[in-house]
Amino acid sequence: MRSRLLPTVLSTLLLATALAGCGSDSKESPKTLVVATHDSWAMSKSVLAKFKAETGITVKVRPQGDAGELTNKLVLTKDSPLADGVYGIDNTFASRAVDAGILTAYDAKELPSSAEQYRLTGDAKDDLTPIDYGDVCVNVDDSWFAKKNLTPPKTLDDLAKPAYKGLFVTPGATTSSPGLAFLLATIAAKGDGWQDYWKQLMANDTKITAGWTDAYEVDFTAGGGNGDRPIVTSYSSSPPFTIPKGATEPTTSALLDTCFRQVEYAGVLKGSDNPAGMKKFIDFMVGQDFQEALPDNMYVYPVDSTVKLPADWASYAPVSPHPYSVDPSAVTKNRTTWLREWRDVTSQ
């Protein structure tokens, strides 16, 4: 009998510690602020320390997956929010978050005037505050084209031309957020003809991978895997990463006529334990210090256009002058249909 008790006692103890352990840190004091973010969150400690010095609030960051996963988790946990606020919902998921009613309106103090163009419209105007944006663009390996004495493509139409057959690789729209952005760029550019355009792309031997990593690090000629496709869907901020050691110029560039603009937002979650703290943090995020730190930490462009960009960004990571865009509510309304149609076109 004693023998059987031993494992029982051990595991009961274990469970007891488990339950006790969770009790101790489950309640956040008002001096801390929990922010749910996407996985790409990165911010230097000194910037967050500055926020703490100004407000006495410690920010705890909880990455929750990509923008889609983040939004869906917050929608699912609406009755018992995961965090006080959110950062990282983008314009392709914004209206899902708004429609689900997970946000509390907040009109950020001193929102830079250059940020006005990125605000949501209508009743949802104050639900989310734009913090930064980035352009998803087709990137080309210039050194590959130079070596082959070929002219790199410039436009979406070029990608479907025979000269570039078998050279383009893109992450899929159903599995990747840049992949979805590129699909939206083609929808904005081609309107109802977008499916025909994708048929042409597929006929031109376009390769579709699951994620950005597979496309860039395996198939792209300038990625980690030295692949065999010199054209890839990535970001307008990717080229500076391809500056070889000791050199000053990148070997790749972004095609600025192929870009979709992704805007990232922050918001206060309904049912938050610390709404006041999150409001302060949103004010801080649109302020000078945070905005200045965005390019180096998260490779995105600050919504405040008066903020100075890093030197190599100014030269090698310009944003698109005329990016494509699709209204966020249209994205939410049509997402499932578009993705299903896209899946049908690309799997033929």
Binding site: T8, S11, S26, V61, D214, G224, L339
Partner: protein
């Protein structure tokens, strides 16, 4: 006496069952309920609609056949390796045993990239045209799962008495006849055990299918992932989760029927023989499999030592930093420390719970209830990590079970994944103990504890250590559940690697490769140490 034993049984069963209900059943049911009762009323029409879609049928068929083929190949490839590494004695054997486990813990994203770099049109094996094919998916699944076969069957094989085989040989049976008529029948329970675990791993793998298949193929798991994380179609996801549960329950019932106790086995502690020339075909076969397992590891190693056109240790030195352009929130080395800590806690939980389950299901005369118990603890392997992960978030959110912010959440989730492997390693060995030995000990006056210590433990000790090593390895490499739960202040090494490889820049890619090699090496060292420990401890009995 009978009454006391029953109460003991109930008490021992209560602990793992409580854990299973709290950390698996409750979250999964919570998630299913969201999908099936979207507005407070049961919506079965939507479920039948999802199940009737031609796409669902395609996805189900692909899941079953890809996992089935991968399981078959894993067993065929793993058996000779299990023999060579567990029934022969040669220098370097322990090191090989440790290395063989490594593929199992590597993050899928890294293996996916390593594999694709080999088979992409630009890679050394590009001419085979495997990129994006079902063959590539199956090959990657096999790569991950061979070690499950080697270790589960190996632990079992070690415990089989060789004298019956020797007797058959003396009576004139050829080595093949001996294997077919004596060894194989004795191994069947171990093989079925391993095969069912492998099938569950394959049927629920999603990283491999996404990376290797390039969207041409989907299995039930990738479909649930997309429906839940991207489309928020919870009804569709719930319908597929139920489908997954039904298929897996059917499989487990089938496996339980095939898996019969081999009956009691007498044991000797004879030294293992050295390889002999007539075993050359088996040795070659095992050698080829080991080469297949090591090739991607070698390519990882070489990628980790390269930075641009130069070779060196820069990528390893960079692990103390947060990567180029601040790719990480904490240095990669912190990720390693987190991983080790979490793995230790997860191993303890999995061993405690797993020993209880294995002890119960291996009692003779347990009958049907124990068979059910055995199957029930396999379920966590067969249900989507997305469903469990999201379920954690929506169910474990209120006191007294507000675990979402607890540091124990990740170890618990990982322990639930490791638990079936612990049971699978321990139970067959315990089952092979002749109950008459226990009865003899008891009739000689030994109390239950004494019986356990003198009869069961000496036999199960090796398997227990093997199980501990395995649980540790599972926890080190676990990514599915962890990625849904990891918090920024304690990312595990696989999470760190995933982040690094998701950032552009040669430095980050190099660091991801170096971190993967560190993960692989850590696993190998732990497995190797466990082996050494085992040899030393066995002498104590």
């Amino acid at each position: 006496m009978t009454l006391r034993v029953r109460w003991g049984t109930v008490a021992i069963a209560a602990v793992p069952l409580t854990a299973l209900v709290l950390f698996f059943v409750y979250p999964v049911v919570g998630m299913l309920a969201r999908g099936l009762w979207p507005d407070g009323s049961l919506d079965l029409g939507a479920v039948t609609e999802v199940l009737g879609r031609p796409r669902t049928h395609r996805v189900l068929w692909f899941t079953v056949w890809s996992a089935g083929v991968a399981t078959l190949v894993s067993v065929l490839a793993g058996l000779p390796v299990a023999f060579v590494l567990h029934r022969l004695r040669f220098p370097g054997r322990d090191l090989l045993r440790a290395l063989v486990v490594v593929p199992f813990v590597l993050p899928t994203v890294v293996v996916g990239v390593a594999f694709r770099q080999l088979i992409a049109p630009s890679g050394p094996l590009g001419s085979l045209g495997l990129d994006g094919t079902a063959t590539a998916i199956v090959a990657a699944l096999v790569f991950f799962n061979i070690s499950v076969v080697v270790r589960t069957v190996g632990a079992f094989w070690e415990a089989i008495d060789t004298r019956r085989e020797e007797a058959a040989a003396v009576l004139g049976a050829s080595p093949w006849q001996v294997f077919r008529t004596v060894t194989l029948p004795a191994l069947v329970p171990g093989i079925v055990s391993a095969a069912s675990v492998v099938f569950l791993f394959c049927a629920t793998s999603f990283g491999v299918v996404l990376t290797m298949g390039g969207l041409r193929y989907s299995n039930v798991e990738t479909e649930i992932y997309l429906l839940t994380t991207q489309e928020l179609d919870l009804t569709g996801a719930a319908a597929l989760s139920i489908l997954q549960l039904v298929v897996i329950t059917a499989l487990l019932v089938l496996a339980a029927r095939v898996r019969r106790s081999p009956g009691p086995v007498d044991r000797t502690t004879k030294r293992l023989p050295r390889p002999r020339l007539r075993q050359l075909p088996v040795l070659l076969w095992a050698g080829l499999v080991i080469v297949f397992l090591m090739a991607p590891l070698a390519s990882l190693l070489s990628a980790s030592l390269r930075q641009g056109d130069t070779w060196g240790l820069d990528n390893y030195r960079a692990l103390g930093t947060t990567g180029a352009h601040n790719a990480l929130l904490v240095p990669a080395t912190t990720g390693l420390a987190n991983s080790l800590q979490i793995a230790m806690v997860a191993t303890v939980i999995a061993l405690v719970l797993g020993s209880c389950v294995a002890f119960l299901v291996s009692r003779p005369g347990g009958g049907r209830p124990m068979g059910v118990l055995d199957g029930v603890f396999m379920l966590p392997l067969g249900v989507s990590a997305v469903t469990v992960g999201f379920g954690f978030l929506i169910t474990l959110d209120k006191p007294p079970l507000d675990l979402r912010e607890s540091a124990l959440l990740i170890p618990i989730a990982q322990a639930m994944v490791a638990l079936p492997l612990v049971v699978r390693t321990l139970a067959p060995v315990l089952r092979s103990v002749d109950d008459r030995q226990r009865q003899a000990a008891a009739s000689l006056g030994a109390g239950p504890l004494r019986v356990l210590l003198t009869v069961d433990v000496p036999v199960a000790w090796r398997a227990l250590i093997a199980a501990a090593g395995f649980a540790f390895a599972v926890s080190l490499g676990e990514f599915g559940a962890t990625s849904f739960l990891a918090r920024d202040d304690n990312p595990t090494l696989p999470v760190v690697i995933y982040r690094l490889i998701g950032h552009p820049g040669a430095e980050n890619f190099g660091m991801a490769m170096a971190a993967s090699v560190v993960l692989a090496a850590t696993t190998a060292v732990v497995m190797f140490a466990v082996q050494r420990l085992r040899v030393a401890s066995v002498g104590a009995f």
